[in-house]
Amino acid sequence: MSTRIETEGSSTASTKRSYGPLAGPTRWIDDRIGLAGLAKKQMRKVFPEHWSFMLGEIALYSFVVLLLSGVFLSLWFDPSMVEVEYQGAYAPWRGVHMSTAYASSLDLSFEVRGGLLMRQIHHWAATLFLAAMLVHMLRVFFTGAYRKPRETNWLVGLALLQLGIVEGFAGYSLPDDLLSGTGLRIAEGLMRSIPVVGTYISFFVFGGEFPGSDFIPRIYVAHVLLIPGILLGLITFHMLLLVYNKHTQWPGPGRTNDNVVGYPLLPVYMAKAGGFFFVVFGVTALMGALFQINPVWAFGPYDPSKVTAGSQPDWYMGWLDGALRMMPALEFTVFDWTFSLNVFLPGVALMGLLFGVLAAYPFVEQWVTGDKREHHLLQRPRNAPTRTAFGVAGITAYGLLWISGGNDIIATTFGVDFYTITRTLRILIFVAPVLAFIVTKRICIGLQRQSAETVLHGRESGIIMRSPDGAYSERHVPLAPEAAYALTAHDRPDVAALPPATDHNGVAAPHNRVQHARARLSRFWYADDRQKPTADELEQAHAHGHDDEPAPELDSAQEFQGVNELGLPRRH
């Protein structure tokens, strides 16, 4: 391979090879399902290369690990709430009455060889599945990859995240240990808080009063069949849309809105992505071997009269639990109907709010900016200061809810009072996101200015020059054209002008109020941005020649190798 002559045609040179052993089977299959046409196109499909494009793959592979380990667990786990007297291998609970579900979880942990490993792999993979979905979503958000034509895929992704949370919570509930039962008890309280119909929902879901004996068999079917089925379907759709729309890429020399530059699926991404699956599985297995997760035997069987200090949900529900802890006591009764807003708002409505805002965001942004074009080039977070600021404000709020969810652990770990933590958070949840928004936006604009400076005057060399009259200045090295291009290859946003108050006949224009709001929002969105330099500015900066010294020669080894995620040239 290394001796192959490097020409443009080298990648197609292999088509001259004879397909001796493959010709037969290929023909047999193609005669029946005729996939060669599709395979021909897709096998050499190009994917751009960047580390952040692999985050979604972590989620995908974790899902595969979940399916594999879940099938193993289902061979032994018995989702029944029928009471049995435990006589298994874990001595401290021998003779104790418990549900079959909990007993079979103990058997999986102590009697089935590799069962504990698979349980832990399954739980770690779930942790990673949701965490990877979240970071993948953040990557998509902060780079503007959800813009047209990918809004649909953004919505599909959100559905995946929500279903993943429900699926994770269902799994957390299945072993019927003290923690999972406590979680269900809280979930039952959340159902009861739904105005007017809450009690009925709770009775229907639990088949009567909590805890009853129906819930675990019901949630088991949802956990192993219903939700994974939907997840699988949505993931397939997510991937098909990705293939159809082709992956986004970072702007850079030769990388335009009309092409994809990268490596072919076969063989490079088959090896890299396939290899990454093994890496994800390997890391999960190592975590299953080294880090104990959810030691169900230590918590004992669920009993509604027992509880343990440090009763927390898994991390992806932690923010909801934190909101429940943070909420003041707000409950009232109108016309004999009780509204438990102290539970309903943080426990039910907040989830709807978060996902509602996330789902609406691409469309709101599109409306405000009036940008209806297709975008296949990613934006650097600094080049969309308002969006980045919204994102950071959201992360700040989410982080505060997380802290609230672990307030008892934080209280004992750092020796503070959880009442103080909660009171502080009740204020911070309103103040901190606003501050985060302002600070982030200013930082982004500062970085935009810095980028513009770099384009206009070159990058700082670190060499301090002293002029004959004693003035000190830093020598700037002009950017390579590739680097300058990478820094300027993004759109120049339009700020919507205020529409005239009246139309040309002097009559008040009908949509004026909406248009006004839009124009104002557009100004809020963009007005403070430092736009990239114009050609004139660049010419002027060069003409001024404030760097009198000759531009130093670039090291011959520092050949341009594309751009990195910061848009700076990659060098070796």
Partner: protein
Amino acid sequence: MSHDEHRTGEGATEGGTGSHPVGGAASVPAKPVHDGHRVELRVGDPVADPGLGTHEPRPTDIDPAAEKRAERQISLLFAISALLTLGFCVAYFAIPRDTEFAGTNALNLTLGVTLGLALLLIGIGAIQWAKTLMDDHEMVEMRHGSSSSAEDRAEALAAFEQGADESGFGRRSMLRGTLLTSLGVLGLPAVVLLADLGPLPGDDPRKTVWAKGVHVVNDVDGKKLRLDDIQFGQLVNGQPGVFFETEDGEPLYEGTELLNAKAKASVVLVRMVPDEIVNAGSAAKGVEGVLCFSKICPHLGCPISLWEQQTKNLICPCHQSTFDLADGGSVVFGPAKRAVAQLELGLDEEGYLIAMGDFPEPVGPSFPEFYQD
């Protein structure tokens, strides 16, 4: 959208040709940005696209020795992986289930580490292969707009209209109406069929097994309690005595029924020096400073038994609602709205603690009908 015209012009991309230059604003006419700010003219991009750079070879591309070395290294990774997988199988049979090693279970540790490393090495090997030995010329693929062509769209619409027309769906309003009605009511069975998911709530959330004369006993062993058994500053996790009673050798409550009953009836008994109880009404429901409260949090139903005997505060470990048991279980802090319910206590003729009735209000989390009768 009149002020938007310039975009409609360039919006040709929406039509699906997908071809406009990077920084598509280049074609946009000059236009002031914002009155209060610096007026900026849109005169296109300052730097032209220099195009893809030239391909630089890797050491493995030009040095056969380096190539051989890389191939050997990657093969070694795969070979070690295979050995580890075999080690996994050996460990599965060789290590007894309950062997302890370094404070953990030896079997779990060995199986996980061998499997994990075996998988990891395959992954690392494959990636390294791609990075060092597979052809690394960047390829360029052109994009095509996500939409179909205008003709396709028009044809699809025409086909649909033709079909709709041939069916007469638009014209035959009676057919359409009855069909849509029949399809619509099909949604009802989907809901109706679920009615047997659970019984209607009825009075269940309001009642517990507590009744006048039911003994308040110690949880786990069912020991009946006398006043003298309970010291000042003591906490007893209690249950109704009926959970421990049997009839013909069969317990009155067991299995699901017991758990359902426990989820409402669990209590805590505390004893305070009578002077410390600030709520006289609450003190009157107890016996000589022994008070009995529901153990089920009125916020979301977690069992609350963190009683700080110095502050008299009862704290829920789930969401930190804090109740002052010296003040009738009123809320001191946290998301709970209602005080924790109190059970009136009395003594039977033998001096054992009994309940004087059920809780005066439903226990556990609120529900919409909470204050209805």
